[in-house]
Symmetry: C2
Subunit: 139 residues, 2 copies
């Protein structure tokens, strides 16, 4: 799916589309530098499979590998995620608008337009359903 | 890359990893409902190729398609992007910290520790390089 013509944004999203790769990034978020064999240990897949995942992450610029003798160590480079987050932020109003509508609906349920009962604002239930006018909420 | 075991987050990131699919979403962001043939028109690829991209977007829950006679219309459903954005937000400190360090560096360059020149705070250039003490910034 990712080819030579792919953009940095294509590579970032493609790299994040796999749970093993996201788990590898989470591990590198928790620890600053981890060897490849340490990174591979918790996963029920082969070391070559993990190496391929690390290649994808490295191609996307999300990790850097450094070699010291026979040991390869990986470090997280989260910066390419910024462009991905900026891309998504453009669509954020879709779900925040939904939350706003839900909040407005709940508010309407809580405080129905009823100018005769200004004190109802201290109750968390719809006051017009109350059958015991003598009861008042605890303070 | 996306299989039957894929999670919603896998499908969202995979769907966004292609520039044509992102362009299709951008078009559906600009217009509320667009027919498949209208959506396909600007792209230099075949209609079946666009249909495949729309399948990927639909599987990720990012669009809904509705049929009226022989016309299929698509609508954006951006809500699955929220989980993707929340995932990325966890890493946001990496690039904001970088910006903070840059700001601190620039601030340091702008106002070098120099208690003898408190008035230097009105200049936007390094005051010790000034050769014309009589000039003052416009107000």
């Amino acid at each position: 799916m990712v080819n030579n013509q792919s953009t940095p944004l294509d590579r970032t999203f493609a790299a994040l589309a796999d749970p093993t790769r996201r788990a590898l990034l989470a591990r590198l978020d928790a620890e600053e530098a981890v060897t490849v064999s340490e990174l591979a240990r918790p996963f029920p897949v082969s070391l070559p499979a993990i190496m391929k995942h690390l290649d994808v992450l490295s191609d996307a610029g999300l990790i850097v590998r450094s070699k010291s003798g026979r040991t390869v160590t990986c470090q997280l480079k989260a910066e390419p995620m910024e462009q991905a987050m900026n891309w998504l932020a453009h669509y954020q109003r879709y779900w925040t608008q939904q939350l706003d509508r839900l909040a407005a609906f709940l508010e309407e349920e809580k405080w129905p337009a009823d100018p005769a009962s200004p004190s109802s604002a201290t109750s968390t239930r719809r006051p017009r359903k109350s059958t015991k006018p003598g009861r008042s909420p605890k303070k």
